[in-house]
Symmetry: C2
Subunit: 520 residues, 2 copies
Amino acid sequence: MVDQASGADLAGLSFEALTPTGFLDRAAAVHADRTAVIDGPLRLTYRELHDRCLRQAGALAGLGVAQGDRVAVLAANSPLLLESHFGVLYAGAVLVTLNIRLSAEELRHIVEHSGARLLLFDPEFAELAEAATEALDGVRIVGPEEYERLRAEAAPYRVPVADERALMALNYTSGTTGHPKGVMYHHRGAYLQALAMVGHFRLTPEVVYLWTLPMFHCNGWAFPWAVTAVGGTHVCLRRVEPAQVWPLIVAERVTMLCAAPTVLISLVAAAPAALDGGRVTVAVGGAPPSPTLLRDCARIGFDVTHLYGLTETFGPAAICDWRPEWSALPEEEQSRLRARQGVSNLVSCAMRVLDAKGRDVPRDGQTIGEVALRGNTVMLGYYRDPAATRAAAPDGWLRTGDLGVLHPDGYLELRDRAKDIIISGGENISSIEVEAALASHPAVLEAAVVGVADERWGERPMAFVTLRPGAQATTEELRAHVRARLAAFKAPDRIELGELPKTSSGKIRKVTLKARANGG
Amino acid sequence: MVDQASGADLAGLSFEALTPTGFLDRAAAVHADRTAVIDGPLRLTYRELHDRCLRQAGALAGLGVAQGDRVAVLAANSPLLLESHFGVLYAGAVLVTLNIRLSAEELRHIVEHSGARLLLFDPEFAELAEAATEALDGVRIVGPEEYERLRAEAAPYRVPVADERALMALNYTSGTTGHPKGVMYHHRGAYLQALAMVGHFRLTPEVVYLWTLPMFHCNGWAFPWAVTAVGGTHVCLRRVEPAQVWPLIVAERVTMLCAAPTVLISLVAAAPAALDGGRVTVAVGGAPPSPTLLRDCARIGFDVTHLYGLTETFGPAAICDWRPEWSALPEEEQSRLRARQGVSNLVSCAMRVLDAKGRDVPRDGQTIGEVALRGNTVMLGYYRDPAATRAAAPDGWLRTGDLGVLHPDGYLELRDRAKDIIISGGENISSIEVEAALASHPAVLEAAVVGVADERWGERPMAFVTLRPGAQATTEELRAHVRARLAAFKAPDRIELGELPKTSSGKIRKVTLKARANGG
């Protein structure tokens, strides 16, 4: 029992499992009377949130949920989904967050694959919950009224975390191709990722965090736990519509939000003319923000930090950590630097860029390789899919499928998804680069570029562009705009104007566009 | 190998041992060209610091240091001591920091007890290093010239951390009574404590941290690792003399420092008349800052946060986390709130106040109990002293020996060390409270209050007071000042003016004063 040489813990007083529920325990002890949750007129203190979550665990136990069982939740960014990020864990169960934009059929597949036998849902998803589970045996669905009653009647309950690396949540990938895979999260990773977010975004008890990013997406990049760790305030949000968002930002004095660029574009486009000068910290991820978007954000008081990560890495593995000396550079150069993916975050152990033989590429800003990750904030693997796990991490390094370069300063800049790179006449064309060139045109709201099979060149770029409401531009004008900025061979031969198809989590469906471009 | 139910890590990609050397690895990858260390004219980048530390590990291995061996370092806050906080760990060894203010005899005891067979020292401590080790067999001492040569010749080297809870450092308590005990630190605790400091002090790459707090004291409250984690700058400092400190604060644009109140008092007293308005974040700990000191700090642009902890808890276990709403209170009330010990930090799992039967005291701001701690940032125990470990943590909760109350808002306020409380006529008198009352007199620089045996009352308070340079006050005037603020029975019967005796880490030696007061 006592091993002084190795420093074994004689009195057993120096170990507690790392689990994000520890942050709620602390907040309830330390910030009991501070506002934890705002949801319309509803206000919950940390004492109340803590009590609710412990009673949710009691209710789940009463419903027969045992340690390791999966509990699915179909909800927008509501108090139910927030408290499930603690209550399901207190119950010793595994949280399966469901994407509310999926079809009943897609949801059925996920619920079945996860093995969840209980599904909680918010009132607006009653029909969807029914439809998703009616073909499944033994799945119980619990709606808001029953849930509220069960939770109110239940006693506070908790199962201690015996193994901090145990499965804690499943996050199904949005799957731009193929069936979604269940990414396995563990307590330790969630705890550390939350601390990284606290550190990088300087979260304090004063943070008022608006839930524009879906919590069902990578568990909201660990912000359910990070905001709670510091005793900040969560502002719930059911729909990310500018007409809902802006009044909340103003009324609740929001200090921070996270969003994908596509969401940010629509928010910024609808910004009220007169803002009161309060600044908002914005973390953007999911795709690189264009310099144009960054400039627009700066104008309305959004301080943007670019994050990069995957569902497989608890969300943000890298951060474009701002260097003080960059603030003296011209605005255009700042935007270019800010759009890079950056460096590994405080707790992600390593980020490498590997060539085809698994060797590190030089830090020359030119040699393209695949981004590879490992460490405490990487998933355990894909649930019930050892083959996919092995394929994703052939040598213990998770291959992201993202291609990029390392600059001499050590910062990563993505050039493309492996499957989105366009190879034309033997030259690589980065679809991201062409998209950024298009987005710098004042009439362009959003752009996506894909490869089209070409007899002579192998592939040629084609662009799909959405113009800003009321703006006008011809495709010839846009092509000229790109040519003035990039090598001629990178300019898209064809440009189509219109809406862009998107996944349920707001990513542009390049697979669809590629099929359309190639006549599929 | 694959256990989907428990979420076992199929590809082995989601685990890295938590160790503070990981922060230097990150800084070298992410902030390679930023300034890591300033020491007079010397400037080191993170690339250089990383290289030095890996070569230190190589040099140690070359000297025969094996995994688990203890390496003692006798140095002020110099580059040697800073790099030893990484290099000794890279070598797989255990860092034993020595207090430079101890006598050769005291040092000999520590070196012998730790079993260190190698001692590194800075040039100014050559004689002391010789004297401390000459009676010890098989202890090799390595001075600056030999060290620089060995390090320059060595190849970079590292031993992976196999167990994150293994012994990583020994911190010998300053021992106001009895022999110093070797407090055992582990990698995991140091890593988490560093993240807590990053979060609470909002450390960024822009931090310029001045080393006023000795690194040999609780490994500098984890700041060697925390500042490195964010790629900030360490400013070395050999002596904490106002005449050395102020020019550095101005010249290097220092943004943060840590200090005990007694150090802060002397700094503030010597503040230049015209400061440039730059604000400095100051973490104060080791004893409660008086409201007077807090007021003086605010005047010169020092933003003070009060920390509370022990050597046994990697330094700060609690922080007086500031609530935004308090900023609207009158200044005196703010000072009172800021002098409280506060709440458990982001990563310390729990802080309790227990009565004599081990039950939690009510949060009434009145019932005094003993502060008890456990969690990941608590020591493994006392090195080679299982009996002392058991005595300190009889039930898995570390008893701090500090007496305090919990306020209704959950904040801890210490009333006294268990051994410093004065019991007079059955009433408890908090020596801290009487000291604060004395310190609020404009002529008082510092005060210490102890109990004197009294036939009638059991004990009576006696005060020892140092006046500010050039200030005048009679003891009768001081007594009247206390009477105007506290219950009459708390006013000290005797007040003696003069210097206060201090330990090597700057704490007032109350044991000495008590002996003097009682005619010992």
